[in-house]
């Protein structure tokens, strides 16, 4: 029994293939190669809706691999500023390693120098504008809070007074 193209409600191209196949080899059964696109389109539409809902145009900051951020319910949107990551493995200013936290506390000169360079670069790029002193501080949640506070003290001494503590936003 042959497959009727009309019974299958195929599209024009599939219809053409089907009738040609039936004309050429009358003894052979026609093979239907039509792809049902409805479910594919449905899936794509749902995916697009979901991704559009979760889409965010706010700036994102790089979170270092070994930094587990503390949870917060009152977190605000992240602002674009230099990122200081503090973990047990070390201290990174804009992804540049500066040594471990203990090393920094013993000899803070490289850290201070990096901050000064950052500040002078900003001043050079934005002449006539007051330095905002903003910095994103990412600290691992298991770190001693005194270490984080001491680092904040060093940041303050270098005029980085608006510290944005990176946290994990929870509802």
């Amino acid at each position: 029994m042959g497959i009727s193209a009309n019974a299958l409600h195929t599209g024009r191209f599939e219809h053409h293939l089907l009738t040609r196949k039936q004309k050429v080899g009358r003894t052979k059964k026609a093979l239907l190669v039509g792809l049902m696109l409805t479910s594919l389109v449905d899936m794509f539409s749902m995916l697009v809706c979901f991704l559009l809902q979760t889409f965010s145009s706010s700036p994102e900051i790089f979170v270092a691999k070994d930094v587990k951020l503390a949870d917060s319910v009152s977190g605000a949107e992240v602002k674009v500023a230099p990122v200081l990551s503090v973990a047990k493995s070390g201290l990174y200013l804009d992804k540049v390693g500066l040594g471990t936290v203990d090393q920094i506390f013993k000899a803070p000169a490289p850290f201070v120098k990096a901050l000064t360079t950052l500040k002078s670069r900003w001043t050079k790029d934005n002449p006539g504008k007051p330095f905002p002193g903003e910095i994103n501080l990412q600290a691992d949640r298991d770190m001693a809070s005194t270490d984080v506070a001491r680092l904040m003290g060093i940041l303050n001494s270098q005029q980085f007074e608006v510290i944005q503590l990176a946290v994990m936003g929870v509802q």
Partner: protein, 156 residues
């Protein structure tokens, strides 16, 4: 004109450009999707910039002791209005107690014309950063946005 010569009307919808568009959109949105919700908490380390404020401004100093313990000091200018110690079993309980304390301070007669503008937290070395953030979070929920951290409560 013969009716037999009439051509069939093709009413099929061409889905190819639609699928192309959807595929491109899916790829773009998947690449730009944010899976980790990083937020920020503003800390203002410098205080004392509100000299021209119309109301009297009060400040709260919180010394975080060993986990669950805190000393809260309410100050109005140079005067200490209240000092109390809170002992709780865990950090979440301590956060709740601190929130209650802030509400109690707001209702003090001495605070009739005053407003708690800032909180300065001094953590102990035994307090981990995650717990300190929970405490700061509690103050922000209570409407205090001018929060600072100072390193002086004690070393290990």
């Amino acid at each position: 004109m013969s009716l037999k010569a009439k051509r069939e009307l093709n009413s099929d919808l061409n889905l190819t450009p639609f699928i192309d568009l959807l595929s491109t959109l899916v790829c773009f949105l998947l690449i730009s999707a944010v899976w980790i919700q990083v937020a920020s908490m503003d800390l203002k380390q410098s205080h004392g910039t509100d000299g021209g404020a119309p109301t009297e401004t009060a400040a709260v100093d919180v010394v975080l002791g060993k986990p669950g313990v805190a000393t809260v000091i309410l100050k109005m200018g140079a005067r200490t209005l209240n000092r109390s110690e809170i002992k709780a079993a865990s950090t979440p309980e301590l956060v709740l107690e601190l929130q209650k304390k802030i509400i109690a301070y707001k209702n003090l007669p001495a605070m009739k014309n005053g407003k708690i503008e800032s909180v300065l937290v001094a953590p102990h070395a035994d307090v981990i950063h995650g717990d300190m953030v929970k405490v700061l979070d509690g103050f922000r929920i209570n409407g205090i946005s001018n929060i600072g951290v100072k390193p002086s409560a004690g070393e290990k």
